[in-house]
Symmetry: C2
Subunit: 468 residues, 2 copies
Amino acid sequence: MSLVADLETVVGPERVITEPLRLHLYGKDAGLLRGNPTVVVLPESTDEIVGIMHVARRHDLPVVPRGAGTGLASGAIATEPAIMVAATRIRRILDIDPVGRTAWVEPGVVNVDLSRATRPYGLHFAPDPASQTASTIGGNVATGAGGPHCLAEGTTTGHVLAVELVTGDGDVVTLGSEAPDPPGLDLRAVAVGSEGTLGIVTKVLVRLLPNPPAVRTLLAGFDRIEHAASAVGDIIAAGVVPAALEMMDHLMTVAVENFIHADLPTEADGVLIAEVAGHPAAVDADLDVVRRIIEANGATHLRVAADERERATLWKGRKSAFGAITQMAPDYYLQDTAVPRTRLAEVVADVYEIARRHGLAMMNIFHAGDGNLHPLVAFDASEPGRLDTVKQAVDEIVERCVAADGALSGEHGIGLEKRDLMHLVFDDVSLDAQARIKEAFDPEGRCNPGKVLPLDARKPELGSKVPS
Amino acid sequence: MSLVADLETVVGPERVITEPLRLHLYGKDAGLLRGNPTVVVLPESTDEIVGIMHVARRHDLPVVPRGAGTGLASGAIATEPAIMVAATRIRRILDIDPVGRTAWVEPGVVNVDLSRATRPYGLHFAPDPASQTASTIGGNVATGAGGPHCLAEGTTTGHVLAVELVTGDGDVVTLGSEAPDPPGLDLRAVAVGSEGTLGIVTKVLVRLLPNPPAVRTLLAGFDRIEHAASAVGDIIAAGVVPAALEMMDHLMTVAVENFIHADLPTEADGVLIAEVAGHPAAVDADLDVVRRIIEANGATHLRVAADERERATLWKGRKSAFGAITQMAPDYYLQDTAVPRTRLAEVVADVYEIARRHGLAMMNIFHAGDGNLHPLVAFDASEPGRLDTVKQAVDEIVERCVAADGALSGEHGIGLEKRDLMHLVFDDVSLDAQARIKEAFDPEGRCNPGKVLPLDARKPELGSKVPS
């Protein structure tokens, strides 16, 4: 049977996409590169995904999973003939356990919809990427996507208790469990951030956190962005653990203000959003500490959101930053790196220097408390040579962050775009170990090939050296 | 050269142990089984451990790492001719970064010594197993050993940012990084809980947490242990996240009181220790909530520690439980399982029923907030057939916990004793994936062989099935 007929046997004809125009829409995620899937399938169950995996094996085609396509590293594109498995239709919230504070969800559930569904129980799913109104839990798990509130509540891996996964062989395995600390080697943790290279996640057991009884959000503006960065360090050093600590530079603030009209201090060189959450009395005390530190670092603007509406506006401003950019230039390149937060100020200064040297207008937005940087360049790719300049500058920024003991990626994943930069942070043995883990789940290399791991990651000769 | 001469070349003659009497002391950890290492080596650096690994390869001997020997699952014993690598002498605190809130330590650092060293900075290492005055950070990492305060602060894996590891090939790799969410497959998480089966951990980068400004500790006694368990569920459901929530049954309470004289309510069927921590105002409010819930569940005894001294006594009582037992009977068997905390009350009742059926006097101590059970049987192994009865009862208890969606082990590891029970919670594909991960780090199977993974975990035929 033909590939399409085989897939239609599994999911029915309506959920197999073959029209070139519609396929084109699945050719890109929010990264820079473009692919071209042979066919897109929209499964609705684990069984259907097992069926798709078997079809892929029969036709010897790779399988590329895709959530909402908001990924920024070209991790969800098909660069060779492949079956794309889109999670759009596998999106049920299967079970919410308000006492155990967990929920089983399908991978296509949109991030914000989950916290909306758990609100009646006073609970929420902590990872809150800026894309949360569109991005899926499956995509969040695949990339380890966090968000502002990972500062206090921890990165995504801590909020995923278990995943059900269809391996490259079509086996269904559950990694992790409801128990807090399951035995054996932690396969669950390996799945989080694996970007579909081990198989396709078909269910996720997430941890839910109680909504804090009180929240206060503060906005501050500084004459120099280094002062904002220094305030961040002082706040952390004072022993306060804010619920979130976000930073935007001048150009980003202007772009966001023009887009969202949140009365942001557009004259400031650096803007800080700090949020404290918890018991009302503790929150007021923490807010005082934060306020005093911000004043001591010379803030020129300081305001506490008066009510929930003003607070929501501030956050909408922060989270629409990338939307704001699209109004300024036809293309943008968003980088995602992380450095130890003690080195944030020094790295930020160098990042601006790199941009200046390349003649690029760069904007920056930061999960400052985590040391997570998002340098962003708005540009016009139709100008000759412009894209190459952008890529070069961004690679220099990544190398600068890695040199400051930083990471390649804070939360957006590695995908295709940073794959070859993995050599910067991993030695041969570590890359080989990762490649062997992939082989364990996906011996035929069928699952999202060419993503995350450099093509030469596997070193068969390692492990056979004769000791001297 | 002989094995001993080779090892002496690496570490010098003083740190190679070969006398049978001294070797005998290294034959057991705190588990039930006994082994017999060929030789024990006490390295002081990563380089020496690399050297030892090369000696092991030349002589084709396994390597078994050992911390303080407080493990409860016979994970640190040599059941075949092997080089035991004891961490006693590799125990420097290499670097404390009070601003980044991290510390690099060597594996032999005793748990409590680390928090003592970081106290001047107002920081501590959160995992606090009952064995913390003896057990090492390396052992904590190897087994994923937690403690009472993992309830609020998360299990051990969340407090380990990176490890340096010598693989079975003698390669030195660093898994993880200072960045909050490093890229690629999470090898760091795989190392935590791997019990030396991937290699020997030579350095650990731990996360440090700020000491809470205020702490209140409450002791409650109940006529029926089910009421204590039900209070635990109600406290969690009320949205309070206590810093710790510990439970002891009647017999355990009596044993501890006789040992430590902490004025515990020895008439109670169940005793609860609840601790709240944080901002002073929040702590008082949380304590009120906890107190009201405990009263509503019919507590017959209720007391808040008046000062730090009384608080320390209560905790000393809780943490000396296992010491107390050794006064009562020559042998004890401590089991470590975990269930979703919503099912704690039901499982506790069944655990007692199993003990009754086997005619065993069982004591129970719980990290109740986490659903982590520690059933404990004090007995005399010299009575014929007694040990077999104990083992049978304990296996039934584990199966009962697993049937309640629980885990094999809460925090003490799998070691040798629970290795074959891994089939209860993992299917063939998941065990094979774990075995392949071990192969990636330890292709020759040199590192703590026979521990954690069942001997038939590796299934070479998996991954070559032809799909139907």
